[in-house]
Symmetry: C2
Subunit: 175 residues, 2 copies
DNA sequence: CGTATCATGTAAGGGGTTACATGATTCT
DNA sequence: AGAATCATGTAACCCCTTACATGATACG
């Protein structure tokens, strides 16, 4: 149940509405946890019911009302406790790898095209992450606390994208 | 619904029982798709119902009966068609990354311990994959077809593990 | 005699995906 | 006038996880 905790992390950084959270998940948080807005709304409602977050309804002019969530003390406690709980290895699941492994049981050229698309996609994403790194963290050795962790998770995104690019390039070169 | 297709790939390589498949998922296939035996049994039952696989019950001496599955022609067609269908980017989800990002909202030392455990785990796994590579694929340039793809997916496992090790090492060094 | 392995399964619940719905405002 | 954005939600379905169940044989 890590979505709940990912939301608590994000709301600890700054209170937000459901839509704002789903935008954050589309951006920075998105490279290690993805979630659709429906999922986020449902989880927030459940968390409010459970007392982990509190809501303030903000009426806006010319816009629908907005529910702004922030962690309660119970939510902060829950997060702190979860953070200290060891977790097993993350299950790595890749649709694309299944296709790569099975390529010879279908049209290999079609699979190679799909691999090329993914490669381009990873290259685009790597460029975006590297731009973020250059723009937001020009002096990484001076970072501490939450800023340091945000930077290091971005580094993880970069390293993972580089890994994918190396892999897919090797796959295409060998075929 | 990639589990179905991962099973078809594995059964195309060689027919197998549910238990044998779950062993394969624990080994080689496991580094890009994981599944428990319950999930595999249920999916196989559904696939048989849908005509994608056929079953032969093998009676064994001193052991329970075994149901050996293999793809039907319809199953092979389905796999071939799926292989040529483009897929969106794989969602990358990591419980550990959520903890790393949120470390400053809890006990940082506890998070670092968890990261160290995962690092050791990835190092162990990398060593196992590298041993497989050395044992099973001494001459990779001579591989073709399904053997080549099996090798290249193992290479992916190795590259991903190296990425994780680089990331977690960087995280620990910076703290 | 207890534990592990072989082999398959049921049941319950949690999490995630996809499609659809609403209703006002701003932009082209 | 039509499309996009802001903002939240319902409903249905599928997938995955965890716990429990069975019954026989082999091993120490």
């Amino acid at each position: 149940m890590a979505l709940e905790h990912a939301l608590l992390v994000s709301l600890s950084e700054r209170p937000a509405s459901g839509l704002e959270l789903s935008r954050r998940f589309g951006r920075s948080i998105g490279f290690f946890w993805s979630a659709t807005h429906q999922q986020i709304y449902r989880t927030l409602a459940k968390m409010e019911e459970g007392g982990l977050v509190s809501v303030t309804t903000v009426t806006q002019t010319g816009r629908p009302d907005m529910k702004v969530y922030e962690p309660t003390d119970a939510g902060r406690d829950e997060l702190a406790q979860w953070l200290a709980t060891p977790s097993g290895p993350d299950a790595f699941r890749s649709d694309l790898a299944v296709r790569m492994r099975g390529a010879s049981y279908g049209d290999i050229a079609a699979v190679l095209d799909i691999v090329k698309e993914h490669l381009a996609d990873h290259q685009t994403r790597l460029a975006a992450y590297e731009a973020m790194q250059a723009r937001d963290y020009p002096q990484p050795d001076q970072l501490t606390g939450a800023d340091l962790d945000r930077y290091l998770v971005l580094r993880g995104g970069i390293l993972m994208e580089q890994g994918w690019i190396a892999w897919l390039t090797e796959y295409l070169d060998a075929h």
